[in-house]
Structures are given as structure tokens and as C-alpha cells.
Amino acid sequence: MKTNLSNGEIRIGFYICHCGHNIAGVVDCTAVAHEIAGLPGVVVSRDYKYMCSDPGQELIRNDIREHALNRIVVASCSPLLHENTFRNAVEAGGLNRYFFQMVNIREHDSWVHTNRAEATTKAVALARAAVLRVRFHRALETTRVAIHPDVLVVGGGIAGIHAALTLANAGKKVYLVEREPSIGGHMAKFDKTFPTLDCAACILTPKMSAVRANKNIKLWTYSEVAKVEGYVGNYTVSVRRKPRYVNEELCVGCQECIEACVFKEGKYPDEFNVGLSKRKPIYIPFPQAVPQVVVIDRERCLQLKSGRCKKTCIEACADRHAIDFAQKEETLEIKVGNIIVATGFRLFDAKRIPQYGYGLYPNVVTSIELERLVTSSGPTGGEITMRDGRIPQSVAFILCVGSRDFRTNRWCSRTCCMHSMKLAQLVREHTGADVTVFYLDIRAPGKGCEEFYDKSLKDGIQFVRGRVAEVTDWALTPEEEGKLVIRAEDTLAGVVRRIPVDMIVLAVGMEPQADSQAVRRLFNMSCGSEGWFLEKHPKLAPVSTFTDGVFIAGCCQGPKDIPDSIAQAGAAAAEAMALIDRGYIEQEPNTAYVVEEDCSGCKSCLPLCPYTAITLDGETHKARINAALCKGCGTCVAACPSGSIRQHLFEDDEIFSEIEGVLTHA
């Protein structure tokens, strides 16, 4: 049995905690201490009522001094709870904090077993394992990594905007990268927000302007992150900027070029108005766009596609010369210490549920389309009309389209009930139409939301509980002629109903963005089983990811409304700021490392690491592990055919001794 201590014997202090009655009530602690005292290397073996208390920790510190202990084992509760506490005590006693091993005899023993003899035998086995293991513990240092003070925020929706402003106002330098030509995200398309019915543009646009005005924020729109390299505190990011063929510095947003375009009218679906209106190849996304700069669609512009155009736009901009058809895509490299990903969501494609007739019947629209109709700056000037221009006299809302549905998406999209009731109230207000909401359950959890639901009921909106089976235009009775008929089971009344209406609004659910897998790999994040970016812990760390230095905020983490998105954005900014202001991050030294003499350069380990921490050294042709990137999973350690990769804190000899310890008969 080899020891790794070159300068003397192993002297172990063993402590078993009563934890009041929690452990001692089932496990005979005195007997365990007695058993362990007989093991080789154990100098001190005590049982005590509360090891984690101050006197308990004092006991450890004193014993280290008085008995020249160099290894400590504590048998008490779960290491997930108090490993750090005891490591601190050990360090305070003058020992390296990693000369410590903890034994779980509470959560894994006294709390789950009733037979005293069996529980005590198990406690002895587990304690013996720890005592054998701890002999092989090496002195390790917690590593520190410096943090670059700049931050990258990816996504310019409300979450990204808020995170960027919070950081910038704290004096940090922020890069805000947004894929679309303007920031604002989905919220820019909304008319009023629930439950207060305040105007979305009125609360969003000041924040958008603040972003533009803030000297600490570098705003790059029409841009995407192309590559991320590095590790927490030291990220090198390549940002690809798409050419808008308009010089951002020179354009003042007067829009004369759009007026002058050879296309007399809009011809292409306007993205901001979700296809309800048309735009020209040269356009500005929406009137309050930030930056207030024109963009030219290179797929549709005559000059860019064929080279043959009168270029009336250039003429119109004669005094500023902002239009530049020679503009090229450029890639810029930046260095940041932290990244906040706030890339938002996409809406469910209603065509995936053909029973609802979206795309088949012109008067079946999605919630976002209705949102544009309702907005006074929208394609109909705020008039809610059907496709033929008539004002609807009856409108139905179908909830949970692409949500809570095992055939499409199982989750609840959280905002659609409130969103639909908001639209329902606005429809009632604008048109006086009869409004029916077909729902499964009404979810109105936020502040003021239940009251909003009450108001909807008082407004005379009808609610029918039942998943809509289909939307059809075949009429059974004269009243149904010319209308869309909704067939649904009214589960409260217990009948199947046919309800004819003029217009139907589908409350489409939220989904992860189409490229979420590609994006998560870019930032070394995981996605949950549903496709949303995975948080480190659903309750205790909702904006952190398993990759240090990368945070998530807003709907990219899961469906949520505006207040929650802003809350998460603030939280992510605070987490980033904590790292920046402290200036360094500490890493538990359970990383893998290569013993070069034993490495043959077989490269079996290279593809195994999800953090790309292992590379092949170009000169030595041996594997090399970047300790800052290594997260300590140990997969490469188990895979290495020559055993040349080892793991600190989880060395083979440590684990083999644990196995031996639990199996040795008393």
C-alpha cells in the first residue's frame, strides 16, 4: 500500500457527527468511532454532537495542531451541504484544504435506514472507505483566473437591451450584437402590454434610445457572432457584420432614398408587419428603429442583383453620400470576459396544425398578426379588419396552439393566456365584436393578472373550455354560411359545439429559435430536453449556465413575459458584474491532467471533451489539457487507454481505495 507522502507518515483525524439526533438516533456513533480508531493511520477518532458548529470546527483545528494531523475525515451530512465548511476549517487549522474527505452518513444512511445494526455497519464501511481514500489526497491549490472587464450581450430584444444598459450604467464596456437591422426584438411589435395595457413602444423606445446614446455600449446590428474561443474571463469573439450597403455614420434616417427607390411600391413581405404589408428592397425596419439607419436587402435590390439600376437612391442621398454598394461583410474580433446570451424565441408555425386552417382560410390569423392589426402604426392603422376589409362582428381566440400538445410542443408558453385576453379586450374595445376564447386552462399568475382575467369576463368576453378540434368553412345551417365554424367540445357543458365566427386568432406558443442548437454550441452551453438553453440550476441559478462566464436571460431560457425577462436580464448583468468587480474567478481543482511521460499521443481523448479542453500539442504530440476549460467530468480520464490522464481529487488510487474500503469485512 503506497502512500504519496514523501516526508512522513499519514496522520488521520476522524470525526463522526451525531447531528443531534439525526444521525445518532440510528447510527451508533461511538461504536463507529471506536472501529475507525483501529485503522492504520488514524491518530484521532472522535464523535461529537455538531461537527459543523463553531466548537466542532474548533475541535478539528485544535487536533491538527496538537496531534500533527495531516488528513481529516468527517462523517456527517452530505458534502453537497458542508464540504466547503469543513474544508475551510481544515485550512484554518493550517492544512491544505484538500486533505479532507467527507462521509455522508445522514442523507445516505441514518435518514434512509431504520435498522440500527445495519445502519451502523454501513456507516463503518463508508467511513473506512474515506479513511483509506484520504491517504492518497494530494495538496492542491484553488486556481484563479483573471476576468476581462468587457461584456458581450447577444440579442437586442428587451432582455439584451436591459442587460446592456445595466452593465453600461455601471461603467462596464458592452458590445451589443443583434441579428436584425434594428434592436427591439418581439416587444417592438406589440401594441399594448398586459396587464397594465401600457403602450409597448412607449416603454421600449426610451430604452432603445438609451442604448444608442450610451457611450459604453457598442451597438452592432445586422450582425451575428461567428466564433467564440477562450474561457471565462478571457473570451475572444468573432462578430460578423452583414453589409447594409448604407454607411451607419453618415445616414441620418431621413428616408428620402426609400421614397426615391425605383420600386414605386413595396413588393416584398414586410418582416416587421409579419407579412401583412409590403416593403421595398430599401427600407427601414420600423419608424423607431435603432439605429435609425436604412438597410438594403441584397437579395431583392435590383442594383445588387443585376447591376442594372438607375440608382435613384444614391441621387436622393447626394448631399450625404451614405449609400455604398461597395460595402462588404466584415468580421471583427473582440475580447470580453463575460457573455450574456439573450437571443429570445420564435413563434410556433401555425401551419403545423392544419386542422386550424391557418394558411387555408384567410381570416385565420396568428396572435402576432392581430397585434400588428391592432397597433395604430401597423399596416391597417389600428383598424382590426378581415382580409377583405370588413370589420369582424365575431372573433374567436384559440389558445394553446402549439403548446401543451404532445403532438407539437408539450410545454406551456406561459404568456399566451394573458396575451390573448389582452388582445380580446382590445378587439372588444375597437370593434365591439362578440369575442369567444377557447381555452384549456386560464393561467394568469402575475401581479394584476387575475384581475385582468376578471375584467375580461366583465367585458363580456365568452370563455369556452375545450381544445378546439377544427376550424372549417362548411356550413350546416344558414347562420353558418360565409363564416368560419369552430368545432370544439365544451367540456364544462358536456356538449360538442359548432360556433360560427368571422375571424379566428390563434394564440401561437413560443419555441426555441430555429438555430438554437448551433448557437448553444457556439457558446458551449447545453439545451434542455425541450430545446431551451439550460440554466445551471432551475431554482438556485436560473441565469447561469454550466459554462462559467456565459449567462442567459429572457425567453431563450424558457417562455416568460416582459417583467420576468427584464428581471433575468438584470440578474445576468449582476452575475457578470460580480465576476468583473472581483476581478478573478476561483475554480475547484478537480480538473484532469496529463502525465506526459505516459501519453503516447493516441488521440483517443481529443474528441471526448465537450469543452474542447484537450488539444494535441503540435510539438510534443502529446495530449494537453487546458485547466481553465476543463470542467472536471473525468470522461477522458476513464477513457485513456494508458492511464496517462488523471483527475485531481478523483485519482484512480483514491477511488480504488474507496471501493476496497466499502467492501472490506469488519
Binding site: 435518514w111 434512509v112 464501511a125 430536453s529 469543452y611 467530468c633 473525468g634 483527475q647
Partner: protein
């Protein structure tokens, strides 16, 4: 031949983030289960070297349980996929040795599935009972003796137990 009070002994390798946490949750919830398991904590089920399993079996464990996160939820992205691969290959190898299928088990248990820890352990203990002790150490000794003396020995300790019982009947 073996102790009538014999109880199966299982060594478990649990990943820190999911299964170990689930076992903690089982404790916090005061669920009760068989005391036959000894848990070894690792960061990821991907750290489970097949040698650990073999060492446990050779060290007289009657069974080995490996616990990791559900596929797709590994804290380290894909460690559990490697575990799965190794496990499948190892099972084939163990079958060649005549080690019964029930003795080595891989379970995906998420941090919220405290009850699954309980039911898996209880189930495994009950499955191992009729198989009897693996007693590999004794097996090796018996085979060595057989090779030296040319004296045939029973296939498994359980078979030996039955032979002894039959002889006494």
C-alpha cells in the same frame, strides 16, 4: 458454504449532479430503502472506469450500480453517453465471465427523482438475492485449486449452496 445471513452488497457509483443529489433528496424526504448499497461519489458517470466495476466485483461486491443523468441532461453535456457505450461493451464482457446480467446495472436518475433511487436499490437487492453471492475472490481461489488439483468445483456459489442443501435434505 456461505453465511445464511448473507445479504447482497452493492457498490454504487453516483454522479454528483444528478444521482448523488437524488440520493440526498431521498434522505431529505426520509424515504426508506435497503441498506445494502455503498455509494461512491464521482463528478460524472463518465468518470466510471470499467476497472472500477471490475475492482468492485473482484473485491466481493455482489452487484454494481452506476447512476448518471438522463441522456441529454448530463451536467457535462455528454459524459453519460460515453458511460452508456462503455457499459454496453462491459456487459458483453461480463457475460463471457458468467457474471449474471442483473449484477451490473446502469440507471439514469435525475436530481429530482429521489424515489427512483429508493425503488432501483430495493429492486436490485431483491434481484440479487436469488442469485446468491458472487464471491469472485472465492471463485478465483476455487478455480486455482481446480487447475492445480484437477478437482471440479461448482459453477457458482449459489449452485454450491444448492448442492449442499440437497446433500443435507
Amino acid at each position: 458454504m456461505h453465511d445464511v445471513n448473507w445479504e447482497p452488497r452493492i457498490v454504487a457509483f453516483f454522479c454528483n449532479w444528478c444521482t448523488y443529489t437524488a440520493a440526498d433528496l431521498a434522505g431529505v424526504s426520509r424515504l426508506k430503502y435497503a441498506p445494502n448499497v455503498r455509494i461512491v461519489r464521482l463528478m460524472c458517470s463518465g468518470r466510471v472506469d470499467p476497472q472500477f466495476i471490475l475492482a468492485a466485483l473482484a473485491g466481493d461486491a455482489d452487484g454494481v450500480l452506476i447512476g448518471g443523468c438522463h441522456i441529454g441532461d448530463c451536467h457535462y453535456v455528454e459524459g453519460n453517453l460515453k458511460t452508456l457505450r462503455r457499459f454496453q461493451m462491459l456487459k458483453r464482457m461480463l457475460a463471457e465471465f458468467g457474471i449474471e446480467d442483473q449484477r451490473v446495472r446502469l440507471e439514469w436518475i435525475s436530481a429530482s427523482e429521489g424515489d427512483k433511487v429508493r425503488s432501483v436499490i430495493n429492486e436490485m437487492v431483491e434481484q440479487l438475492r436469488p442469485l446468491g453471492p458472487l464471491a469472485l475472490r472465492q471463485q478465483f481461489k476455487d478455480w486455482d485449486r481446480e487447475i492445480a488439483d484437477g478437482d471440479p468445483v461448482s459453477a457458482t456459489p449459489a449452485a454450491a449452496m444448492h448442492e449442499t442443501e440437497a446433500a443435507h435434505a
